[in-house]
Amino acid sequence: MLIIDDNKMKLLKMRRKLLEVSNGNNNRILNDYKDIILDIDSKAYNDLVEEVNNVSYSNLSLEEQIDYFNQIDADYTYLNELQCSFKRIFSKYSGFDIELSDISVIAIDEIRERVSAIQAYLLNCKNLENNKIELEKLNDDFILENKKNNTIIKQINSLEEKTKNDLLLAEGRIQNNNGGMEYTSIQEEFKNFDIDLKKILANDNLLHDIYNEAKEEYRDNEEMLEAALICYQNDNNNNDVYNKIKLNTLKSKYKLILLSIVLEVCTKNDDYSLVKTKVNKILDLIKQRKKTLQQLNIKHFIDPFDRININNYMEVIKLFDDNIDNMTNLRHTISYFTSLIEEITFENEVLLNKINTSIRVIDNNSNNNQVDKKEEELVDNSLNSLLLVADEDDKVIKIRDVGNDFLLDRVYEKAKGVINRVNQMFTNIPADDKVEHFQTIPELVIEDVSEDKDDIINNEIVFNNDNIFKDNKEIGNENNNVFDSTTDKNDLFEELLPFTNNIEKDEIKVNDKKEYDNEDVFEEVVPFESAPLFDNKYDDDIFNDKDNKENQKKLIDVIKEEDNLENTMPDIFWNDSNEKAITDNENDDNVLSFDEQVEALIGNTKTKKRAA
């Protein structure tokens, strides 16, 4: 969890208030404000990165991962809001943008996606568990309904058996011809047609045979009735024949209805949903029977078929239908939950794969780049930063690892030795020593400058780092001539070369430039007209300018030309001899004293050395 230093926030608020009330120049407050912002931002950023790096989320449980990632998300959001606020306020008072740590290195989208995935996975797991429980319950219900179905089927079977028995046992009372009441039964009714009900109930084939015969008989009678209807309907003489045929047809119809009822009662269907149809058919046949009985003018006081309780079927059929509906619904629900569970299981497999795939919470490459950028921007946006003029030669264009054949140990040992010795040299030798050397070389003034003027000038024109360095080495070895171009090879000096070169270059650039300006001696060596060639830029050009040689050539030409113009040069150069020139003229105000001349020559030499 990010903790922002309260004191720093208070300081920030104070600076902001100061910015609000300040008029005009508020750079100093802005700088302070900026420093505090950068400090808070940098610490918060580092804390956030540390928070991310310190925990290996793969070792956490999924619930712990959610907490961990949510904390990072919360901290990220907080820091983001903080940065927005900082940027807005800084821009308001400075007109500049401030570049803060780039928290986009935190892969927040991936983190949020991961949290969503884990949450979805855990929710799915919970749902899966609930759905499985529900499915188990549904299966139990289905089993129960199935058992119920079996019971209902047994009930139906039992009812069918009972109906058969009822057919055998059902008794009634019929009106006889005298209007009296006689015993009757279903069996008696079948007996009237010479059919043994018991036999046909027990023998299915017999039943079907008798039924088919009755069917044929009824058809024949019907055909006969149709014929009789045509032949005898209006024939009073044969009316009896017609009526007899009609009666026989009705009787055969009645017989067929009775057999049809028995046939329906005895019909066994595997599909119990057809029981309802069967019962409806029986009821319909009973109605037809009654109608036929009326046609036959047979009256029952008590109809034996009324003893058959067909309504019992209705209750069972309703139970059966309900049971079938329940089972169908349960099947659908079970199928739905099964599909849902499969779907969730598949989804969770995908989520689990996603969760098991590690994510890079911090983009390291991005991080490095951002750090670079941050540093760069901090330099760029610093209100007090110097304008850096980049030299493309110094630009790093490539970074690579060292090769395997690189003897790093040896290199580091050598490099360490060099840095130690150079450091020792810097700490042991005072900077003024070199000046003292210049001042204590008497031989310099004895030489005939005029005779070696060209050489000296040439030496000057050959102006390179080596000469400078070699001169220094000569200084280190007082027995050698300063202008002697040959020097002893010394490993230490060779190693020190770059550093000493740097110092010389720098001295020329920074320190001695002023010295030259103050010393007219330089002008005594170089003709006045040619002096501008060295002026200002000489120190830079002399090292770097590729046109240096051209300048040198020009310089030589000018100098040679000026050789013929003695009146333009100081007298010291154009006297017959230096010895003559180097005389003590202490009392002569117009002529330099001996010491002054020596000083001038030393200065001259120094100039040459410097120039060289």
């Binding site: 750090v371 760069e376 980049a390 110094d394």
Partner: protein, 80 residues
């Protein structure tokens, strides 16, 4: 682009330097570097102290010049 010890940097002028050591002073990075030879398997006897500056996504190595500056930086590279 990040400078690290043991890495070889190539400058715009084609010179290659091995980064030998690094110190930080006044929020600036200083590197002790040595020029790599043509074969790229050893260093030349050309050592420099450079200061790294970052600009426009690029790193520039500016040589540290001047006795005073070197006097202040060099001891930082000397390890006892």
């Amino acid at each position: 682009m990040r400078l690290e010890i043991n890495k070889i940097v190539t400058l715009g002028n084609g010179e290659e330097y091995l980064i030998i050591d690094k110190v930080e002073k006044d929020d600036k990075e200083y590197y002790y570097v040595a020029e790599i030879n043509e074969d790229g398997n050893d260093i030349k006897d050309n050592y420099k102290i450079v200061c790294a500056t970052y600009k426009d996504n690029a790193v520039y190595l500016d040589e540290v010049l001047g006795e005073d500056k070197l006097k202040s930086i060099l001891p930082l590279f000397v390890k006892e």
